[in-house]
Symmetry: C2
Subunit: 359 residues, 2 copies
Amino acid sequence: MTQPRKSRPTPPRAQVRALEGFCHAVLLAAGADEATADAAVSAMMHGSRLGVDSHGVRLLDHYVRALRGGRIAAAPKLRLVSETGATASLDAGHAHGALAAYTAMDHALRLADQFGIGAVAIRNTSHFGPAGAYAIRAAERGCMGLAVCNSDSFVRLHDGAERFHGTNPVAFAVPVAGERPWLLDMATSAITYNRVQLHRSIGADLPTGVASAEDGTETVDPDGAAMLAPLGGLFGFKGAGLAGMVEILSAALAGMRFSAEILPMSGPDFATPREMGAFVLAIRPTAFLAEDTFAQGVHRYLAALRGSAARPGATVMAPGDREWAEEKRRLAGGVPIDPETERAFRRLGREYGVEPPFG
Amino acid sequence: MTQPRKSRPTPPRAQVRALEGFCHAVLLAAGADEATADAAVSAMMHGSRLGVDSHGVRLLDHYVRALRGGRIAAAPKLRLVSETGATASLDAGHAHGALAAYTAMDHALRLADQFGIGAVAIRNTSHFGPAGAYAIRAAERGCMGLAVCNSDSFVRLHDGAERFHGTNPVAFAVPVAGERPWLLDMATSAITYNRVQLHRSIGADLPTGVASAEDGTETVDPDGAAMLAPLGGLFGFKGAGLAGMVEILSAALAGMRFSAEILPMSGPDFATPREMGAFVLAIRPTAFLAEDTFAQGVHRYLAALRGSAARPGATVMAPGDREWAEEKRRLAGGVPIDPETERAFRRLGREYGVEPPFG
């Protein structure tokens, strides 16, 4: 017998400033040092501002658990353990992944100032958060930025029948004179695991080519989805290959764990550091050609792209266009808070004596 | 009335050494200098050895036309026009694309020796050929290599209805101690245009999600395919985003033409240089960590990958495994020559007085 569907109340919305303040206060109260709280809030707010809610403030509760359990160091010592020319290895000392990644990108940018390019491999880091946040850091300082990280294994190989790679994102950002950056931030799987959970909750079939049952065969049933498919469907060897590139840059170049070796993000062990790696790269266009030539080229490309013919009823967008439009809406109208995050915020607010950022 | 299908004769096969010698002699006879002939043969043979026939010796006839027409400089002057730290811009002087790319990668490797990483943007180059050939050059010298290039526009944007990007390949190679390199070499479109032509010739439908009619809507009819789809099907914004990254690194960073601006590879103008850009990057793992740690990590990853569960009846492979196996077969049994290439070789052989590499 089906239950009549209850009408869902409108989710509460939180203003960006209030949300930032709440997350920052909770992290400090949970023991994080200022640098950790700043970085974690900055990364989560990148997700929550741009509409990438899987990597937004819903992660606050998870980060508090990881900080309190000891998995993430609350007051980490980050240090460069090797420096060779335009490259470095950063031992993040089990820092929050955002602090590690911002620190690494800031160093890559210093290297790019000096050498035209800078690359930093990160050791002993934790959950990366939104890769785009660190790529954007480069673009805000006039450089192209690449940020990649491997992660818990959820994704089968092409023709594979077990979880092997993580959703292993690739983020690439390009500065655009007078505009927000060009920003690609993509999982190398077809979809994310959150999308499977969403389809479960609304009882809708998945698209074809995005998930597999335990034996690796295709399924569109979200309840039967045991693993994700690599990007590309029939051509999933491409998505799997890109995931492998991320795996090698993140784990092999840092001497850290491959996706299938990482302790699960969801616990139950929240005490043991996850020993993850990640990789960031900054490229300074002005090392290669005149600033104007580059800026004009990017503008010419984007104008051609945005003016190109679209399918009937559709719109053509550059990577990031959708996100910057969403950011504008959210800066004006606030960030929607899902029910689970609302409950967690009320609990964290009570526990740490911080007022939740909604009524 | 259908004609009875004629049984097709077995295609002739050419031994690798004989094929190399033939291509080299024809290019020299067509006016190419030694460096151009060496590079062009090396790149074409990468394709023909590894089974990537679209970028193999079938290109010889095209390159002869481009050399004789003047589009490609037969005796180019390549020079570094800017050098900043670990980066450089190479003006290839309208050289053959393979000479430009190998020269750029060799310089990137020198930079990586000194700085741990090296990046070279290439200006005034021509048809790139197999991106993997240049990435492999890095891996053969102990570095990771990235090679990208934009190309004639055949691929629509996500939700687009016109040819905008090229098939814009991404090649990434990783050295594997004691083995052939890990090698990803992928178009950022779902399939290549050659694949459409193949389906036309055999009268078979295309897979879904790979091609579009003139208005951008999906088609599986190879005769109705006016453009290719970006990699990813429903998630084609990912393939289009990757193509955009290639476009920016190749064209914007070199001040060169975007895909939609490039003169068509197929002519009719074979006199005007195409003013294309490309980009190569070399990363030296030993700048980041001990050689053994890196080598053991890559081995551990590959062993886990090759030993992981496969779908019923399938095999899991690392990027490049299929190609290295094909290379072994072709080194032993020769390279199959398609009928059109056979005809072109007989014609070129007569014209330049060079014996074709098959009976």
